[in-house]
Symmetry: C2
Subunit: 365 residues, 2 copies
């Protein structure tokens, strides 16, 4: 990373927050060919120093304000990553206002109104915004998209189901920011649910659903934070989707998209079970045999290798976009804030449906 940091075109990152996910991001920035960590900020200098030392980083420990300072060493804006709780991502708006490109941990905000402030600041400053949904950048995702877009092999999308659950241990359920109403009040919905919703939106090529109905029996902790919930979504053209997200069930990461002619299934779509390759299965035009004693063709298994882990692919793509803006006076890629906002709108609608006793909620725009 040290050598890369000196090269032309290297994008310099300041990281705010020293949670585990920041370690993952820091490693990813190191792996990406066009990025380097130059500063780390957290609630205390001591924590920042420890983070730098633990992760073998040659960068400056800084208070959180680092994200709002322009780099003195390059002409580029220093992008900021925020693995911080969304309740504090208002800092993101400040960073953007001072010209920092922004790679923001999910959930991007506690509600779309909060997100819109950040996005408006990015827009005004002309900086790139992207949420840190890493699986979007795995080459497997592009391979799956190619099949979903195939009018013959997949046809028209009919329904999607997504599940993301893991078992949060006692310490997580007691202390993690994702169970604290004042820090990350969206709980499992904003964490694992974010990925389920993104997976569904990805499958429908980001068309917003018409309405959302939360499923009954969500589980909340004593402070009212969601530990487990689900919802059903419908689109005006008749597509449907369901998801279930939870901190209380064995690790399960499923995405199943069923079309008029094909079926796609990935058993680890958010985090590949192995770092350097990822699989999915796809079946097309399957039919029963005579007498319905079997069926086929069977789903085929597709394995897609990835030279870099998906989080490093994300950092590389983000850095590429940043480089295009600062190098050639280019514009930020609108796709990324757009899909963040759509994801947040669905998160908001699910939460509203739970609060309104499982009534259908029209998804905002």
């Amino acid at each position: 990373m040290a050598s890369a940091a000196g090269e032309e075109g290297t994008v310099r990152f300041g990281i705010i927050g020293c949670a585990m996910i920041a370690r993952k991001l820091s490693r990813a920035i190191g792996l990406a060919p066009n990025a380097a960590v130059v500063a780390v900020g957290s609630r205390s200098l001591e924590k920042s120093r420890r983070f730098l030392s633990d992760n073998g980083l040659d960068a400056a420990p800084s208070p959180p304000t680092v994200a709002t300072r322009r780099s003195s060493q390059t002409r580029a804006w220093t992008p900021s990553t925020f693995p911080s709780p969304p309740a504090s991502t208002c800092a993101g708006g400040g960073a953007a206002a001072s010209g920092k490109h922004l790679l923001l941990e999910k959930p991007a905000a506690l509600c779309a109104a909060d997100l819109d402030e950040i996005l408006a600041a990015c827009d005004a400053a002309g900086v790139q915004f992207m949420d840190s949904t890493m699986w979007m950048h795995h080459p497997r995702t592009a391979a799956m998209r190619e099949l979903l877009s195939d009018p013959v092999r997949f046809g028209k999308l009919r329904t999607v189901n997504s599940i993301f659950t893991f078992v949060a241990g006692p310490s997580f359920l007691e202390n993690d920011i994702r169970v604290k109403p004042e820090l990350d009040g969206l709980g499992a919905l904003g964490d694992v649910g974010w990925y389920c919703i993104r997976g569904i939106l990805w499958a429908v090529d980001y068309e917003l659903p018409e309405s959302v109905v939360a499923l009954r029996r969500p589980v909340t902790n004593a402070a009212g934070v969601i530990l487990s919930c689900g919802a059903s979504l419908v689109w005006k053209d008749g597509q449907t989707a369901t998801f279930h997200c939870s901190f209380l069930a064995n690790m399960t990461i499923e995405l199943t998209a069923v079309g008029s002619a094909g079926t796609l299934h990935a058993g680890d779509f958010v985090i590949p079970a192995e770092e350097r390759s990822a699989a999915f299965s796809f079946s097309s035009c399957a039919e029963f045999s005579d007498l319905h004693t079997s069926w086929g063709p069977l789903p085929s298994r597709h394995v897609v290798s990835s030279g870099l882990p998906q989080e490093a692919q994300m950092v590389a793509e983000f850095s590429r976009l940043v480089g295009g803006i600062r190098g050639a006076g280019g514009k930020p890629e609108k796709k990324w804030p757009d899909i963040t906002r759509k994801t947040q709108l669905v998160v908001d609608a699910v939460k509203a449906s739970i609060e309104r006793g499982f009534e259908p909620v029209v998804v905002g725009s």
Copy 2:
């Protein structure tokens, strides 16, 4: 089959209805070591004769009343299979009343009240009732049950999702009994949906859900018969389930059960993709790696071979139960009518929820 038919203990079947599924059953009866077809009835003698000839059967063509006649050749009651439309399965009650054991195609009835008449007749006559849900009898199902029952490896059930869809061609959508309100008015819900619901009930060990909410955007044909629908189910102890069933989407047969410690997934749970063996995957106590860059242990793949196809296993089990009743004055096995009835109650609740504008419907008892 001819030789088996002469052996002691062979249970003799009359088949009513000559649909494709009757051919599958007829073959299954031939494969089972303790069963034989002795009569076939349909709406016309000509159809019955053709069926016998096409399937190489040495049995008597009969009008539908065959099912209500006691076999003159053995002291056993002749069990009847009914691959007929449920609207005509009232004949099943008649068959039972005259002492025939009953293996009934799904959906067992158009509503629980109709089913109860059949079950009451079976009960009064002391005959065995079983619905023809073949996958229940595959040894894979027992292997999956063993894991679901494991308090350490699977733990407590949290959620289930099931999908069963296939593409019905133009002729099916025009002519099949499953799209005719006067024949099988439950449409996709009574057909593929029956299996989804049975899969869910199987996963919760047949505890009835507290309530059911149909998902929005079911698809019906011009006559109002369901071609595609879904629902969410909740249990008083907090378990949840969702399913989607359809005649309008690529062949997809999924069951995913997620517990507090384990996850079971079968991609062909109703009809194994191959006839003589079937697979499922199971993962237990999976955790993220350090930095959440991967996770494991990965799901393990379990393959269960079956000496007989699942439909022949079903016939053999049914015949074994019948043999136990007639040989030793045994009682019918109550498990089978019980789970048929529970499945029918959930079918009824889903249909009621659709009719009531997607309101939650308490599941009857």
